[in-house]
Assembly symmetry: C2
Homo-oligomer: 108 residues x 2
């Protein structure tokens, strides 16, 4: 399982019950899937799991997989990504990002 670099983004919408705003965010996120360096992509909602260690308060979760850090940096500057931020940043109240690189493991 050769996964390398994962960019996880959790979005909290300003108006989570507004269907139009949710739809706008989902449509915007899906434009990101076509960026050339993206190897795998996932858009999901909180699962109905419920333990003390689980955060299920977010609205949407985006996972993007890249071959390496450089490809993720290229993604950040891609016009499609910049347009997504311009178009959709007003929709969210909070974003939480975790960037995780498998190549940094001492014995990967």
């Amino acid at each position: 399982m050769p996964t390398r670099f994962i960019h996880n983004v959790f979005f909290w919408l300003k108006n989570p019950t507004d269907a139009d705003e949710a739809q706008a965010l989902k449509a915007g996120i899906r434009t990101l899937f076509s960026i050339a360096t993206v190897r795998d992509a996932h858009l999901g909602k909180p699962a109905p799991t419920d333990r003390a260690v689980i955060d299920n308060t977010y609205s949407y979760h985006l996972m993007l997989m890249f071959d390496n850090l450089e490809d993720q940096t290229t993604y950040q500057g891609d016009p499609i990504h910049l347009k997504f931020v311009d178009d959709c940043a007003h929709l969210w109240e909070k974003v939480q990002v975790y960037d995780s690189d498998a190549s940094l493991l001492s014995n990967a």
Copy 2:
């Protein structure tokens, strides 16, 4: 890109500078990769990205991909997973979990 259910786990080690404890956690996490319902797996460390929205304080990140919620439930009860928790829970100070299901999107 047919990703379905993602189980993201972030671990904060009690003693993050203890190489033996880090090695024990990594070895334990890797045993999980062989559980039958796991479709893809990633173990990483915080990338050297640094923006206000990024949390890079964790020690290790585990991403496990499943076909659906039921397969993730099966994983939770698998003896390999239970042994991992028994063997390694003393190593971490905090665990943060996000379970994300693509099948819950209204227009997936």
